[in-house]
Amino acid sequence: MDAAKKKALEITACKVRLGIIEGVFNAKSGHPGGSLSIADTLTYLYFDKMNVSPEKADDPDRDRFVLSKGHTAPALYSTLAQKGYFSTEELKSLRHIGALLQGHPCITIPGVDMSSGSLGQGISAACGMALAGKTSGKAYKVYTVLGDGEIEEGQVWEAAMFAAHYKLDNLVAVVDNNGLQIDGRISDVMSPYPITDKFAAFGWNVVEADAHDFDSLEKAFASTVEGKPTVIVQKSTKGKGVSYMEDNVSWHGAAPNAEQYEQAKSELEAALAALEA
């Protein structure tokens, strides 16, 4: 990836992170940790990889995205706002009564392709979208992001079997391996490891990536193969970009207070200023 493109993506990702903090702080609830861990991935998808734009939001040939780990909606909303689907001002009313932005993704929100939030279900919907594309002879691709804790759900493996059986090579699933779930380390709560071996055994093309390196993400998303669905197991840091949230399970589903908000904002603004310098 050339340096200018990489820098542009890093700047956008930083703005996405600022939007996540803005949304969760104003909502006084929500899931900042897992949102921050996928901020780079969503930025890469929406600003480089996917064939989508607000101008052709209903184009049947557009690529599709399903946030299977739906509780990290702030990351999706912030990315969609940066992309121009709605104003970044909307992030300030996230989770408020009567607001556009619901606690979990809802299909009626501009840019959201599928309602999600009950874990394990998004990947099945993504399979259906990929199958629809195959049977209609359409070239679009379907992307979905799952949590590493989410793959403890049995439905994920029903879907994994289905995607391989129907050779859904237009489907790319990302497992965001930040290593934490609500009750603690995934390895302590209910280990889904080895994640790569499990998907390989189910017949998937398995790729590994660094979730916070755009070169690595670009390479991973380009590593699809014919005849098999692809899974990208990305090593990420929960809370990435906000020092006190990083790799700290207590930031799975809690909002920062005013002081913590100011600190998060100033850290991210400093990072943004450094990038834009």
Binding site: P60, I123, Q155, A159
Partner: protein
């Protein structure tokens, strides 16, 4: 009724899908390893490229159906009622109901008349479960004519639909030459003034037979077939209840949350009327021949007559 033609509505379902496949190109069918039993195998034979077996994985099947619908297909997701409404309930609620996607759920082998397989497969809770989902249409056709028509009506309606079909051969009571299916509209099968009998699905034929017996004994029963349990036809129910002052509901489903409850929901608000519910009385089923089980559970013309006379 010996000369009346009998067809299980699951057969009607499979036949209708196969017949409508040419007309509706976006129609696709999913099954969960039960194509021989749900009769979607009839569609599979004719349109193999539009049939997708999901294996024994109903949760994923419902999610796949949601994704197909989100991309413009009209998927019919098929399995037994127990697994469609029971096992996959939360997926149906969150992945189909909440985004209000255009998925049709073809649930066969509903009710006690599953027979020998027994309680684990005799789903008597599906209507109750499905009608609690906002925006879900719930259809329980009474015979072959109505079931076929209902499949096409479901295709023409944009939104999620739960359709309930039976395993047991049911008498054909509607004339295919004249029958018209109207979603959300009850059908008055017999005019009467003494009592209203409201039935659904397999019980409609029993209600008609019961009304004939009652007539011979001087009781003039009005018979209403409610094929669409949600949205329910409030007008036909209220008008009949106001006329007769007595309502008897009959369903092959739990008396908790099904047709009887839906009728009570209507009447308690508009015109409180005495209602007696015939159905499965908060109990599990058990193995046995379907026809004998129906008699044992009181899901018969004989019991309708007896109950009506006692009202």
């Amino acid at each position: 009724m010996a000369d009346v033609k009998k067809i299980a509505t699951r057969e009607s379902y499979g036949n209708a899908l196969a017949e409508l496949g040419d007309k509706y190109k976006d129609l696709v069918v999913l099954d969960a390893d039960l194509a021989a039993a749900t009769k979607t195998g009839i569609f599979k034979k004719k349109f193999p490229e539009r049939f997708f077996d999901c294996g024994i994985a109903e949760a994923n099947m419902m999610g796949v159906a949601a994704g197909l619908a989100a991309c413009g297909k009209i998927p019919f997701a098929s399995t037994f009622a127990m697994f469609a409404a029971g096992r996959a309930f939360e997926i149906v609620r969150n992945s189909i109901g909440y985004p209000h996607l255009n998925v049709k759920i073809g649930a066969t082998h509903a009710g006690i008349s599953v027979g020998e397989d027994g309680a684990t497969h005799q789903c008597c809770e599906d209507i109750a479960l499905m009608r609690t989902i906002p925006g879900m249409t719930v259809i329980n056709p009474s015979d072959d004519t109505e079931a076929r028509a209902a499949v096409e009506a479901a295709i023409l309606y944009k939104g999620p639909v739960y359709m309930r079909f039976g395993r047991l051969a049911a008498p054909v009571i509607n004339d295919p030459a004249t029958y018209k299916f109207e979603l959300g509209k009850g059908v008055k099968l017999r005019d009467g003034k003494d009592i209203t009998i409201i039935a659904s699905g397999l019980m409609v034929a029993e209600a008609v037979a019961a009304a004939e017996t009652l007539a011979a004994e001087g009781i003039d029963a009005e018979v209403i077939n409610i094929h669409t349990i949600k949205p329910i036809d409030k007008e036909i129910i209220a008008a009949s209840a106001q006329k007769t002052g007595k309502v008897l509901t009959v369903e092959e489903h739990s008396v908790i949350g099904g047709l009887g409850s839906a009728v009570c929901d209507v009447l308690c608000e508009c015109c409180p009327t005495k209602v007696v519910k015939i159905g499965v009385n908060d109990t599990f089923g058990h193995s046995g021949p379907a026809v004998e089980l129906l008699k044992q559970f009181g899901l018969s013309a004989e019991n309708i007559v007896k109950t009506a006379k006692a009202m």
